[in-house]
């Protein structure tokens, strides 16, 4: 990878003028930033420190403020309050064309009247780079993005994935200290998307550039990020690495948004260590955080892969803890896992996922018993907005 070396070598030593705070080049500090549009607050007192060379994802549904945050780092929006610093230098009032950051846009935003090479050269031309050097660096960047052979084509002659690579090359050729990516994989089909995820991650760790990745796709965030900031209503709900976010979500909202959950709604029981819902008494191994008081409305969450399923033996009604009885509504083959949809009652279904080799012998219409261990239960105070996304709607048929 000789082509990559020129970009690699210099990105780590980018000088940071005016760095008086001891923040390393490539560090992004968002300090109590607020952004309003009329009455609506898009970003609400957000504070976030992104380490140099880190791959961070801003994850959340549309309207959570993730794109606004990215656009403020890029300079397309100005914060109403707070400060944004890159490499220790405040960017307040600095126009986008004087910032040491580059963006990969959602729809790529390639210039249709220029060839691929001219698109990539555009940023260098603005910095009055000598022509011979432009040529060299454009070729390097296109090699890095594996688009060398398409250099003289127009963007309209490329597929979505190829345009994506050109957009990446066009941003990286400038050797920014921070690369901003605004849902760049959203328009690609699934297979290509997964391939690009891997490539992006490899590229990022090789170049050592700070990547700020905005997405609403939790799978993307989980697979690439060093840390994930899960955003809600203009603030950060949880900031942690993928393992923590998945295994120990800070709230029902995070639990619902990252991966799939079965939620049980009910009243806190056993001193806050369990939730008593219509269909099961769900007991956790660890108490709820934030704590649940006895009798308070609570939510218990169990991931589908932690639930076991078996045919109900006889009609002896079992009222055991962490057990629910129901009827098997459907089975779908997901490849490495089998997914079962169990109807517990009119208002609740349960999703169960088992590895295909361990698939139990149950068929649609059977009475089944589902059970799970207290270690896999997460308890939260009730949160309407969160559980909307996680509840499995009862099938009407």
């Amino acid at each position: 990878m000789t082509q990559a070396s020129t970009i690699e070598a210099e990105s780590g030593t980018t000088p940071a003028p005016g760095n008086s705070r001891g923040e390393a080049p490539g560090t992004v500090v968002i300090d109590a930033v607020t952004k309003r549009y009329g009455d609506a607050t898009a970003v609400d007192g957000l504070s976030l420190t992104i380490k140099a060379g880190e791959f961070i994802s801003l994850l959340g549904p549309s309207g959570c403020g993730k794109t606004t945050t990215l656009r403020m780092i890029a300079g397309f929006e100005q914060p109403d309050a707070g400060d944004i610093r890159v490499s220790g230098r405040s960017l307040l009032g600095v126009p986008p064309y004087r910032r040491d950051v580059n963006t990969v846009f959602q729809a790529y935003a390639l210039f249709p009247h220029m060839s691929v090479a001219e698109n990539v050269a555009y940023g260098l031309q603005q910095k009055r780079t000598p022509k011979s050097e432009i040529r060299e660096r454009v070729i390097d960047a296109l090699d890095l993005a594996q688009m060398r052979g398409f250099a003289d084509r127009k963007p309209t002659q490329l597929s979505g994935g190829q345009q994506q690579r050109v957009a990446l090359a066009r941003a990286l050729v400038n050797r920014p200290s921070v690369l901003l990516l605004d849902e760049p994989l959203g328009a690609l089909d699934r297979q290509l998307r997964e391939e690009m995820q891997l490539e992006l991650k490899l590229l990022q760790s090789r170049l050592g550039i700070t990547f700020v990745f905005v997405t609403h796709d939790q799978g993307e965030a989980l697979s690439m990020s060093d840390r994930i900031a899960i955003m809600r209503n203009g603030g950060i709900e949880q900031l942690a690495d993928a393992d923590t976010v998945y295994a120990r979500p800070a709230s029902a909202y995070v639990a619902a948004f990252v991966g799939q959950q079965n939620f049980f709604r009910g009243r806190a029981a056993e001193g806050g260590g369990a939730v008593d819902s219509t269909h099961a008494l769900v007991r956790g191994a660890t108490p709820a955080s934030p704590a649940l008081r006895e009798g308070e409305a609570g939510l218990a969450a169990v991931r589908p892969e932690f639930v076991r399923i078996e045919a109900a033996a006889g009609d002896a009604a079992s009222d055991a803890v962490n057990t629910a009885r129901g009827t098997l509504l459907g089975v779908s083959h997901l490849g490495e896992t089998m997914q079962y949809l169990v109807r517990l009652g009119d208002d609740q279904s349960l999703i169960v996922r088992r590895p295909t080799p361990e698939a139990p012998q149950v068929s649609v219409g059977d009475a089944v018993v589902c059970s799970w261990r207290p270690e896999s239960v997460l308890l939260f105070p009730a949160d309407d907005a969160a559980s909307d996304g996680g509840f499995v709607a009862p099938p009407t048929a």
């Binding site: 082509q3 890029a74 300079g75 397309f76 126009p95 986008p96 064309y97 004087r98 950051v101 580059n102 963006t103 846009f105 959602q106 729809a107 935003a109 390639l110 210039f111 249709p112 009247h113 220029m114 060839s115 090479a117 001219e118 050269a121 555009y122 940023g123 031309q125 603005q126 910095k127 432009i134 040529r135 454009v138 070729i139 296109l142 090699d143 594996q146 688009m147 060398r148 052979g149 398409f150 250099a151 003289d152 490329l158 597929s159 979505g160 994935g161 190829q162 066009r170 941003a171 400038n174 328009a187 690609l188 089909d189 290509l192």
Partner: protein, 307 residues
Amino acid sequence: MRRRLPGFLLAAPAWAWLTIFFIAPVAMVVWFSFGYKPSIFATQATDKLSFDRYAEVLTPTFFATFQNTLWVGVVGTVLCFLIGLPVAYWMAVKAPPSKRGLLVALVMVPFWTNFLVRTIGWQVILAPEGVLSTMLQGVGFEPLAILNTRGAVLIGVVYNYLPLMILPLFVAFDRVNGPLREASKDLGAGKLTTFFRITLPLAQPGIVAGVLLVFIPLMGDYITATVLGGAKGNMVGQLVASQFQTAQNWALGSAMAVVLIFVILLTAAAGAILVWLVSWPFRARNRLVIGTAPAAASVPVREEVAA
């Protein structure tokens, strides 16, 4: 089972219309222009064909009128472009999107009044004893002496044709969407560079449309020029009309019309070549051709199937 009709039938009504009411009359005009006026009571005859009418057209008197027409046409179009461009850009890019419909409607407002009435309105305003002149004299200026000059003609031309320039430019700027301009700034280009390298080149079809939409009718227009320019407002259109209506010499009128068509085509072509030549150094500076990759040095390129 329905039979599929060929797609060109969709254009058939338009073709029929154009053939009957545009191509045929133009062909007749060209045909008449080679004829002559046989007697006082006949308008044209084509039993003997010659280029004599063209020789008549190209005499110094007519030549001066052509010159004047071309001057008004070119200067008027350039003024409309220079004035319309910032307005269209502002409407499409800077104005709040919710107000754009209203702005477009406001640009159209002059069209609600008759063309001639609007032009005569300017005569009232610009007359030496008119409103504007009286007001200016009130603050110590000389009586306004602009009516019956080329200046007055240009005022009227810009007023009458500006909407025809603004609308296509607006559509063109509106189509160059925000992300492209943002990408340009993101890559370090300031506002001017972004305008000249991204917005303007991508708005090119709209610019061509606007320029032609103003220039072509303007070359044939003589009402604006006669009403506001008086003796200084001699336009070819006026000569053509008087040959057809007053002098009843259709042959000469046709020859003038044909020459006018050629002048318009040549001027448009000259303008295009000029723009191409002037912009050539800039385009050459930013051109970058990489060529095919040397086999040894390159990473194998992955061919993806278009999504």
